[in-house]
C-alpha cells in the first residue's frame, strides 16, 4: 500500500523534556492508524509537528513520498492534512456553513449559501450524517460539532485526517456513528490517524496500532496480530519508577462522605451522574479514569468552585451547604489544581504572594483589614527552604520558575498549614505529577503520603494506573460520571482496571 505520511527520526525537545525522541511513523492510504499512549507520551506533539504547529528539532517529513517542510497549519492544509483537535475550533455564533467555508478562496465573493449548503449536505449524507448547514454551531451537540469539524476538513479535500482523542466528548452511540464514518472515509482512499489512550477503542477501529511511551515509539503492530493485553503492556508496562514505603496505620473514621452527587459541567451537561464515596482519615483515595469522565468536576465541587445540583457532601461531620471556595478553604480543604499556570498560581506575582494566595486573609498573617508582610516574608523563606523551591529570592516572579518548582510551590502552599496554623483535613490533588520528571514526581508523592499519615484524607486524581497503585490506599474507577468500582491496590489486575476505565459497554464490545 502507498505511504501517505512518513515521519522519520522526529525529535522535539521542550525545556526539560524530550517530547519526541527519534520517532518513526507511517500512515498508508486506506488505513486507520491508531496512535496509542498515555497522556504525555508524545502523541499530540508528534501530530502537532505533522500539522505544522510545532517545528521539529530534527527529522524528516514525507507526504506521499515527497520530502516537505510544514511551517504552519496553512501549509499542512495545502498538503491535504486536516486535524480535528480535542477542543473544537469552531465559532459557535456562526452557522455550520460559515464554519466550513471560512478561509476558502474559491467560494466566490458572494457566498452562494444555497449551492454550498447543498454541497455540504450531500457530503454529510455520504457518511450518514444529518446536519443542517444553516443552523448555528452553538445549537449542535458535541457529536454534531465533531461532524462539522470533519466536514471542514473533507470539504477542503484532505487526504490525511488526524483526530485527537475524538471519542472523549462522544456518547457510545455517537462513537459508533463516528467509527462508521471513518471507515467510509478510508475506503475512499484517505488515511486516518486516530490518537487515543483507550485500548479497546484502538482495537475496535484501527488497522494498525503504534504505541508511544515517554516520547518513543514502543511498537507498531497490525491490529489483528495483537490484543488488549499486549497493548496494555506496551503502554503502561514500564518498570516501577520508584518505591514508596508506606508503613501506615489505618483509621476507620470516615472523614469525607459524598452521597448521590450530581453536577453539571460547563456545557450544562450532567457530568457527575451519581457519585458515592467515602474517604477515611489517613487515607489516600485514588480516582482513576479517562479524562473527561467527571473527575475534574468532582474535584471542583469539593474545592467549592462548582455547585452541585443534587446530593450531599459531609466533611468531618459538617454537612456542606452551598459551597464556595472560601468556605471550603476554611473547612480545611486544600486543592492542587491541574494546569498550575492556569489558576494554581498568579505567574506575575512573587513567590511570597503565591504562597499566601489563600492564607493572606487569616491570622497570624492578617489582622482586621491589614496584612503582615514581615511575617509573610519570614514564613516564606522558611517554606522555600523546607520544600526546596529553587529560586534566587522569594520576591522573584513565579513566571521565571521551572515547572517542577511551581508544582513544589503549590504543594508547599497547600501542605504548610498556613491557614490558621491548622493541618488541612482534605487535600484534593488532580494530576499532580503531570509534566514532572521522576525525581520531582517522587518528591511530591512522598510528601503526600507523609502528610496523609498525620491524619489528612487525600483525594488523588490521576490517569496513571501504576502511580495510583503505588500511592493510593484505595482506588475508585470513574466512568461516565459514576464510580464503577472500588478496590485496594493489588486486588485487581491492570488489564481489568483498563477495562473498567473504558466502561462496561465498551468492554463487552471489544
Amino acid at each position: 500500500m502507498e505511504e501517505l505520511v512518513h515521519l522519520h527520526g522526529i525529535v522535539k525537545r521542550f525545556p526539560g523534556v524530550i517530547a519526541n525522541d527519534n520517532v518513526d511513523f507511517t500512515l498508508k492510504r486506506g488505513e486507520i492508524h491508531a496512535l496509542l499512549g498515555e497522556n504525555g507520551a508524545g502523541k499530540t506533539t508528534l501530530m502537532n509537528i505533522l500539522y505544522g504547529l510545532y517545528k521539529p528539532d530534527s527529522g524528516e517529513i514525507y507526504i506521499e513520498g515527497r520530502r516537505v517542510e510544514i511551517r504552519s497549519p496553512k501549509e499542512a492544509i495545502k498538503l491535504g492534512i486536516g486535524m480535528v483537535h480535542q477542543n473544537f475550533k469552531l465559532i459557535p455564533q456562526h452557522t455550520v456553513l460559515e464554519n466550513v467555508i471560512l478561509g476558502l478562496k474559491d467560494v466566490g465573493f458572494i457566498i452562494d449559501s444555497k449551492k454550498i449548503g447543498e454541497e455540504i449536505k450531500k457530503l454529510a449524507e455520504q457518511y450518514n450524517w444529518k446536519i443542517d448547514p444553516h443552523v448555528f454551531v452553538w445549537q449542535l451537540s458535541a457529536g454534531e460539532k465533531q461532524q462539522v469539524e470533519l466536514l471542514k476538513i473533507l470539504y477542503r479535500k484532505a487526504k490525511i485526517l488526524i483526530l485527537d482523542e475524538p471519542t472523549s466528548v462522544l456518547t457510545p452511540q455517537e462513537c459508533k456513528y463516528l467509527f462508521y464514518a471513518l471507515r467510509m472515509m478510508v475506503k475512499e482512499g484517505r488515511g486516518v490517524i486516530f490518537i487515543t489512550h483507550k485500548l479497546d477503542e484502538a482495537l475496535a477501529i484501527s488497522d494498525r496500532v503504534t504505541v508511544m511511551r515517554r516520547g518513543k515509539v514502543v511498537a507498531t503492530k497490525n491490529t489483528w496480530e495483537t490484543d488488549i493485553k499486549e497493548l496494555a503492556s506496551f503502554m503502561i508496562g514500564r518498570p516501577v519508577l520508584f518505591n514508596i514505603e508506606k508503613n501506615k496505620t489505618y483509621s476507620d473514621e470516615e472523614l469525607v462522605i459524598v452521597r448521590n452527587l450530581k453536577v453539571f459541567n460547563d456545557a450544562g451537561v450532567l457530568s457527575l451522574k451519581n457519585v458515592n464515596l467515602t474517604i477515611r482519615k489517613n487515607e489516600i483515595f485514588g480516582i482513576i479514569g479517562v479524562t473527561g469522565n467527571g473527575q475534574q468536576e468532582l474535584a471542583e465541587v469539593l474545592a467549592g468552585l462548582r455547585r452541585p445540583v443534587d446530593g450531599e457532601i459531609i466533611i468531618d461531620g459538617i454537612k456542606i451547604v452551598d459551597p464556595n471556595p472560601q468556605k471550603m478553604i476554611e473547612l480545611g480543604v486544600a486543592y492542587i489544581p491541574p494546569e498550575p499556570m492556569k489558576y494554581g498560581v498568579a505567574p506575575n506575582l512573587s513567590v511570597i504572594d503565591n504562597l499566601f494566595l489563600k492564607a493572606y486573609r487569616y491570622r497570624p498573617y492578617s489582622k482586621k483589614i491589614f496584612i503582615d508582610i514581615k511575617k509573610m516574608e519570614k514564613k516564606a523563606e522558611e517554606i522555600v527552604e523546607k520544600f526546596n523551591i529553587v529560586c534566587p529570592s522569594p520576591s522573584i516572579k513565579v513566571r521565571s520558575l521551572s515547572g517542577g518548582n511551581i508544582q513544589r510551590l503549590i504543594l508547599a502552599r497547600e501542605l504548610s498549614e498556613l491557614i490558621g496554623g491548622v493541618r488541612s483535613k482534605l487535600i484534593i490533588a488532580t494530576y499532580p505529577t503531570k509534566g514532572l520528571d521522576i525525581a520531582a514526581a517522587e518528591f511530591l508523592n512522598k510528601s503526600l503520603i507523609e502528610y496523609s499519615k498525620l491524619g489528612t484524607s487525600i483525594l488523588y486524581i490521576t490517569e496513571d494506573i501504576e502511580e495510583a497503585m503505588m500511592v493510593c490506599d484505595r482506588i475508585g474507577v470513574i466512568h461516565d460520571g459514576k464510580i464503577v468500582g472500588t478496590f485496594k491496590p493489588g486486588e485487581v489486575s491492570v488489564e481489568k482496571i483498563g477495562l473498567m476505565m473504558a466502561g462496561a459497554d465498551a468492554s463487552i464490545s471489544s
Binding site: A303, G304, L305, N324, P325, Q326, M328, I329, Y335, P337, K342, Y343, G344, V345, A346, P347, N348, L349, D353, F356, L357, K358, Y360, R361, S366, I369, F370, I371, I373
Partner: protein
C-alpha cells in the same frame, strides 16, 4: 526574535526583553515628552504661532511662585482621579469614567453647600468634612455601579464607564441650568459662590492650599491600602487572573465592587477640589477633561502613587499654561490638548523600546546566515 536586513551589512535585530532597567524607563519617558514638545513646536511654527513664546510660558508656570500655586491647584483634581485609577487599573478594571466620577464629586459637594446655605443644615465647621465624605461616596457609587456589573455579569467596563461620563455631565448641566442656578446670578449658569468655610483654603489662607495636604494624606492612604491591606493583596490577585482569584477563595464581587468604589471615590474628591478649591462655585463643564488626563498620568506613573505627584503637577501646569496662552498671548489653548495627545502617543511608542530590545548591527560586510 525578528531580524530585518536593511543593507547587506546592516541588520536590525528586535527581541523581547525579559527585564528592563529602571533607568531606561525613566529615560524613555523623558525622551518621549521632549519629542512630543518638538513635534508640537514644529506644528505650531508651521501654523504661524510662536512656539518659543508658548514654551517659555509653559516653563514659567513651574518657576513663577504665583503660577506654581495655580499649577498645584490644577494638579490636584488630576492627581486625585489618578489615585483612583491606580486602584482600578491594578485590578485590571479599565475605568475610563474618572471624568464622570469627578462630576459626581462636584455635584455632591455643591449639594452639601446648598443644603447648608438654603436650609441651614449642619454647623459651619461641619460643612467641609461633609463635602469630603459625600463627594467620595458620590464618585464612588458612580464607579461602583459599572464595577458591580462587571463583577456580576461581565458587562464591559470600558463602555459603561465611558457612557456614564456623559450622563454625569448632562446631569450637572441640568442642575446648574435649572434648580441650582444662583437666583442673584443675573441668569448665568452658575451656582451661588461657596462661603469661605466651604473652600479648601480654609485654615491657612490663600497661600497654603488645604487641597494639597488632603492629597498627600490620600496618596499615603492609597499607598498603604495597596501595600498593607488585605484589599490591596486581593486587588493584585484579581488584576493578575480572575480564575486564580476565584481559586484562592477571594470574594470577587466584593473586591471588584469595592475597588471600583474606591477608584470613583478618589475621582469624586477630585471633583470636590475643583469646585471648592479652584472655582469656588459650580459651573457647567467645570472639568476640562481632567478625568481623561488622569489616565495618562496614571499610566505614566507606572501605578506608583508617589509618582502621581510630579506627573500630575506637570499636567496641571500644562492646563494653567493653556489658560494663560489663550488669554494673554493669543496662542490657542488647544495647543495644550495637542501636546497632551502627542506626549501620550510618544510614550506609548516608548513602551515598545522598553518591551523590545532593538540592536542595529553594522558588521564589516559579514551577512548573517
Amino acid at each position: 526574535m525578528i531580524k530585518y536586513r536593511l543593507r547587506p551589512n546592516v541588520v536590525v535585530k528586535i527581541e523581547r526583553r525579559l527585564h528592563y532597567p529602571r533607568k531606561l524607563s525613566v529615560l524613555s519617558t523623558i525622551l518621549s515628552i521632549l519629542i512630543a514638545f518638538g513635534v508640537a513646536g514644529a506644528a505650531l511654527t508651521i501654523l504661524g504661532a510662536d512656539a518659543l513664546i508658548a514654551y517659555s510660558q509653559i516653563i514659567a508656570v513651574f518657576i513663577t511662585p504665583s503660577l506654581l500655586i495655580e499649577t498645584i491647584k490644577y494638579a490636584i483634581p488630576i492627581g486625585f482621579a489618578a489615585l483612583g485609577l491606580n486602584i482600578a487599573f491594578r485590578m485590571n478594571f479599565w475605568n475610563i469614567g474618572a471624568e464622570g466620577q469627578i462630576y459626581l464629586g462636584m455635584f455632591a459637594s455643591t449639594g452639601i453647600v446648598l443644603l447648608h446655605v438654603y436650609y441651614g443644615m449642619f454647623p459651619e465647621y461641619f460643612v467641609l468634612p461633609m463635602m469630603i465624605v459625600t463627594s467620595f461616596i458620590a464618585g464612588g457609587a458612580w464607579c461602583a455601579l459599572p464595577s458591580f456589573l462587571k463583577a456580576k455579569m461581565k458587562v464591559n467596563e470600558i463602555l459603561t464607564t465611558l457612557m456614564m461620563n456623559y450622563i454625569a455631565i448632562y446631569f450637572v448641566d441640568y442642575l446648574i441650568y435649572g434648580p441650582w442656578r444662583d437666583p442673584k446670578g443675573f441668569g448665568f449658569p452658575l451656582s451661588i459662590p461657596f462661603p469661605e468655610y466651604a473652600k479648601l483654603t480654609l485654615i491657612f489662607g490663600e497661600s497654603t492650599y488645604l487641597g494639597s495636604i488632603l492629597f498627600i494624606a490620600m496618596a499615603t492612604l492609597v499607598y498603604c491600602i495597596l501595600k498593607y491591606t488585605k484589599l490591596g493583596f486581593e486587588l493584585k490577585i484579581v488584576g493578575e487572573s480572575l480564575d486564580t482569584a476565584r481559586y484562592a477563595g477571594t470574594n470577587l464581587t466584593k473586591v471588584i465592587t469595592l475597588g471600583g468604589f474606591l477608584s470613583g471615590g478618589f475621582a469624586g474628591l477630585g471633583g470636590l477640589t475643583i469646585v471648592s478649591g479652584i472655582i469656588g462655585r459650580l459651573r457647567p463643564r467645570a472639568s476640562a477633561g481632567y478625568g481623561y488626563t488622569a489616565i495618562i498620568v496614571t499610566l505614566l506613573s507606572t501605578l506608583n502613587p508617589w509618582l502621581i505627584i510630579p506627573t500630575s503637577i506637570f499636567f496641571g501646569g500644562l492646563f494653567v499654561a493653556g489658560n494663560t496662552l489663550q488669554v494673554t498671548l493669543n496662542i490657542p489653548g488647544a495647543t495644550i490638548e495637542m501636546l497632551q495627545a502627542l506626549i501620550f502617543l510618544f510614550i506609548l511608542f516608548g513602551e515598545l523600546f522598553k518591551r523590545y530590545k532593538i540592536t542595529i548591527l553594522t558588521g564589516g560586510g559579514k551577512p548573517e546566515p
